[in-house]
Amino acid sequence: MLPATGSISSLVAGLWLLNVLLDTGGQLAFKAAAGSPLAGDGLARWKHMAARPWLWLGIASYVIEFLVWIAFLSLIPLSEGVLLGSINIVAIMVAGRFLFGERLTRLRVIGILLVTLGVTIVGIAG
């Protein structure tokens, strides 16, 4: 998964991996926070979410991810960094499949493969 390719150091690869983990964890936490059917509307919805851990877990993940991403981007070109970061989309879809039972339709599998292909091209030769 993380070959020691020419341009990408192990520090960059480690920050990339940490970013994927934090982004996926944060997104899933926000999904859990926003998806509650009891939440109601408007201000009541925000109060409902603020009284439960999911919103705060998501925010904590994002705060750490914020710093990890700054460090990551300072080490590689921005145009390469945003493309490599697109792997987060794949990670979230796969996690959604396992944790929320979201179906992976053929179109979704094609989308996941295309994004993965693009990230691989950039990671190896970018």
């Binding site: 520090l11 926000f30 926003a34 994002y62 914020f66 710093l67 991403w69 700054i70 460090a71 990551f72 981007l73 300072s74 080490l75 070109p77 921005l78 145009s79 390469e80 960094g81 945003v82 493309l83 697109s86 989309i89 879809m93 179906r103 339709t105 179109l107 979704r108 094609i110 989308g111 996941i112 493969l113 295309l114 994004v115 993965t116 292909l117 693009g118 990230v119 691989t120 091209i121 950039v122 190896i124 030769a125 970018g126």
Partner: protein
């Protein structure tokens, strides 16, 4: 309502783009990277990190509002297509090069995002207007 969504999607892309550009400036000014207080002080001691925070918070509230009402497929695509605007701006602002692997990778990634957006649209057909 359509115009409202379009505005929301563009706002989301704008916030995301602002964040990425600011992240790059902030990180570059805080080099070298270290797991230290000194690095954190360098990050938060210059203005760009606050541009990133504005973009982050703006994108967060825009996304949470869009998720509640907007069709999920276009919302999903809009939340990820900032790779295009960021790539183009990084050529202009940071003198980066659109190398062949980056362009090929970007095309595959964008095609993938469009497929995923279409998949979301199919699985969540728009509800009839109340």
């Amino acid at each position: 309502m359509r115009r409202f969504y379009l505005f929301g999607f563009l706002l989301l892309m704008g916030f995301d783009t602002l964040s990425q550009i600011s992240f790059k400036y902030a990180g570059t000014q805080a080099l070298p990277v270290a797991a230290s207080v000194a690095w954190l002080l360098r990050v938060f001691g210059q203005p760009w990190v606050y541009g990133a925070i504005v973009g982050y918070v703006g994108a967060f509230f825009t996304w949470m509002s869009l998720l509640k009402h907007a069709p999920i497929g276009p919302a999903f695509a809009a939340s990820h297509l900032e790779v295009v605007s960021v790539m183009l701006l990084s050529v202009w602002l940071f003198d980066e090069h659109l190398t062949v692997p980056r362009v090929l990778g970007a095309i595959a990634i964008i095609a993938g995002i469009v497929c995923l957006g279409l998949a979301e649209s199919r699985e969540h057909p728009p509800e009839p207007a109340a």
